[in-house]
């Protein structure tokens, strides 16, 4: 009815009526809006947002910004020695793994060891005490054993990633020092290397190239023939129990085409590293 009336009025009159009513509505709305805005201002006035705060103690500021930030990871393997890892993604992966471990389930009996040789390490922080951990039968963090059925698997994935930092020509060369017995073996002949030869061998190994490219590795493996000799590294030179024969902890099979295959006897099934380089110190002895 009302609509009909409006439609029957002349156009300018209709518009005037509409304009008047909307102005009136706005006038009535104004006080309500003002009250609401005032209420919101009172509510938010106590909050620190959008305000500049000054902290006088610079040391405290530094502490706040650095708290619980893992900086480096030191790994220690009884044979390969220690290595400091600084790549953030590796350090964080290890930190995330250790901090997400559940408490050890009582009576939990997993399948197999995580490793056959203990791997220990320390995560160093910019400003908080370091975390010490070890991985062997289980994962122990600061003296407490953690883990459930999935921990061994996760630890295994982590170790697989971390071990690339231990298996390098530089770390291998560091094992060839004056305290370690190094034996050059050709057929049935064994020669204990002298300090000078060891020094030369150390330099040659550290300058070897690690082979990761698949095509290059294929080419070298297919053209390797039979090994020319072996270099045996005895990092643990104590006699075995009951006078048992002693084996090297690491050996390197040396091939005529420059390929060196490194085996970590205690913990690996198969080879651990493929290197390419010239070992003149060894070949001069063979001649």
């Amino acid at each position: 009815m009302n609509r009909f009336t409006l439609e029957n009025k002349p156009d300018n009159e209709n518009q005037k009526t509409l304009g008047r009513s909307s102005i009136l509505q706005f006038i009535w709305l104004l006080p309500t809006l003002s009250v609401l805005i005032a209420f919101l201002m009172i509510l938010t006035s106590g909050l620190p947002f959008n305000k500049l705060h000054t902290i006088q103690d610079a040391f405290y500021v530094q502490q706040l910004s650095r708290q619980a930030v893992p900086e480096t990871l030191t790994l220690l393997d009884p044979v390969w020695g220690s290595v400091i890892i600084e790549q953030p993604e590796k350090v964080l992966a290890c930190y995330d793994f250790l901090t997400s471990l559940p408490f050890a389930e009582s009576g939990e009996k997993g399948i197999g060891r995580i490793r056959d040789r203990e791997l220990s390490g320390t995560i160093n922080f910019l400003d908080r005490a370091s975390i010490h951990f070890s991985i062997y039968d289980s994962v122990v963090v600061d003296g407490i054993a953690y883990g459930d059925a999935n921990t061994k698997l996760k630890a295994s994935f982590l170790i697989q990633d971390l071990y690339d930092t231990l298996y390098t020509p530089e770390n291998l060369s560091r094992l060839i020092d004056r305290y370690t017995r190094i034996v050059l073996r050709m057929d049935s002949e064994r020669i204990n290397l002298s300090t000078n030869v060891k020094k030369q061998l150390q330099e040659e190994i550290s300058s070897c190239e690690i082979i990761k490219d698949n095509d290059r590795l294929s080419e070298l493996l297919q053209g390797r023939g039979r090994a020319v000799c072996q270099i045996e590294i005895y990092t643990n030179d104590r006699p075995g129990e009951n006078g048992s024969r002693q084996s090297p902890q690491i050996y390197i099979a040396v091939y005529g085409n420059g390929l060196l295959i490194v085996y970590d006897v205690d913990i690996s099934v198969g080879s651990d590293m493929h290197l390419f380089g010239e070992l003149n110190s060894v070949f001069s002895m063979l001649e």
Binding site: S188, A227, A253, V269, G270, S271
Partner: protein, 357 residues
């Protein structure tokens, strides 16, 4: 006048909005269809961002190399874990309801057979499997062999010359029972190692159950050490810790080709096994797992395994392992049945456990 203009204007605006909405939904639908098509095509070339978890019972370097090659080829993230066959099977059985792994590679075929019957491994028909002889592919479509392994007796020649100079080296199963070798034999544990189980079951099949168990009882007295995996037995003999090993020929060849004094003899009636790959239940429709199985059967993957492991690949177009034969030239004991070995596994291991107590 204004009213007259306003009405058509509103109609035009409404039409534009409705048209815009229709266009928006049509384009969106069309682009998602395109994306789906692109994804289907890309699945075969680019799996970047996807993840594959491998459980492997090959040597660690072999598992690692396959993982790296596949990662490089497809761009997906590959994680792997290496366990000896027995422990690998136990791991998969434990995780049956909540599997971590998508594929199981390596170990011996009896392990894959056993897991197949427990529905832990599932069928997948790979387009590449027609390129390998059908006797090396499971008729149920679950496992596909990558290579063949033959048992062998390995002797440290350097120690032999010093300690047994003038004597004949052992080259039969009976020779291994000679009292002078007591404590000097190293062999893998049948509980944890597929190699160890292959030796045990092949003796039982060769000699018959009764005679076979009598032999194993005497053989057990000769053993100085059981190893968890097959390969370390040859390493220990190569390095001179033990005089004799009984394990797979390819493992012995790795050590002898590295220059260590190890002589291998494939004895009469030696057992053998296939080393297959399979998809773990729960991943049957996983495109990454399927692609990995296809990759594992390719020439380049098998060549990579032969290069590292000296094994005999099931494809005849693969490279020839150093000191070993091609598949077509391999002289294996055809009377030995690895599938029967799988069927009898539980009972045999139980009896072996009672025997070594």
């Amino acid at each position: 006048m204004v009213r007259n203009i306003k009405k058509p204007l509103i109609i035009v605006i409404v039409l534009v909005i409705v048209g815009g909405i229709i266009c928006f939904f049509w384009m969106r639908n069309n682009s998602s269809e395109n994306a789906l098509t692109d994804n289907t095509v890309n699945n075969h070339d680019d799996l970047s961002g996807m993840q594959l978890n491998i459980l492997g019972s090959y040597h660690e370097d072999m598992v690692k190399r396959l993982a790296q090659m596949f990662e490089d080829e497809t761009g997906c993230n590959v994680f792997y874990m290496r366990l000896p066959t027995g422990l690998g099977v136990a791991k998969l059985v434990t995780e049956k309801d909540n599997p971590t792994f998508n594929v199981y590679i390596g170990g011996t075929v009896d392990a894959h057979e056993s897991l197949k019957h427990q529905n832990i491994l599932v069928p997948y028909r790979s387009p590449v499997e027609k390129e390998i002889p059908k006797e090396y592919v499971d008729s149920d479509g679950v496992w596909k062999a990558q290579y063949i392994e033959t048992l062998s007796i390995g002797v440290n020649t350097e120690r032999w010359e010093k300690e047994f100079y003038g004597n004949e080296m052992p080259d039969t199963l009976e020779d291994l029972l000679d009292p002078k070798f007591k404590g000097e034999i190293v062999t893998p544990d049948p509980f944890t190692s597929g190699t160890g189980y292959t030796f045990l079951t092949s003796v039982l099949q060769l000699m018959g159950t009764e005679e076979g168990w009598k032999y194993m009882d005497k053989f057990n007295d000769q053993v100085g050490q059981y190893t968890a995996s097959g390969y370390p037995a040859s390493e220990k003999v190569g390095l001179g810790e033990y005089l004799i090993c009984v394990n797979f020929l390819s493992d012995q060849l790795i050590v002898s080709n590295s220059g260590y004094p190890l002589k291998s003899t494939v004895y009469e009636g030696a057992g053998w096994s296939m080393c297959p790959v399979s998809i773990v239940a729960g991943s049957e429709n996983n495109i990454v797992a399927q692609r990995f199985i296809d990759f594992c059967l390719s020439k380049k993957a098998l060549d990579a395994l032969v290069e590292l492991g000296n094994c005999v690949a099931v494809r005849d177009d693969c490279i020839i392992p150093q000191g070993n034969n091609k598949l077509s030239e391999l002289n294996i004991n055809r009377n030995y049945d690895p599938i029967k070995a799988a069927a009898d596994k539980e009972d045999i291991l139980k009896k072996f456990n009672d025997m070594i107590k």
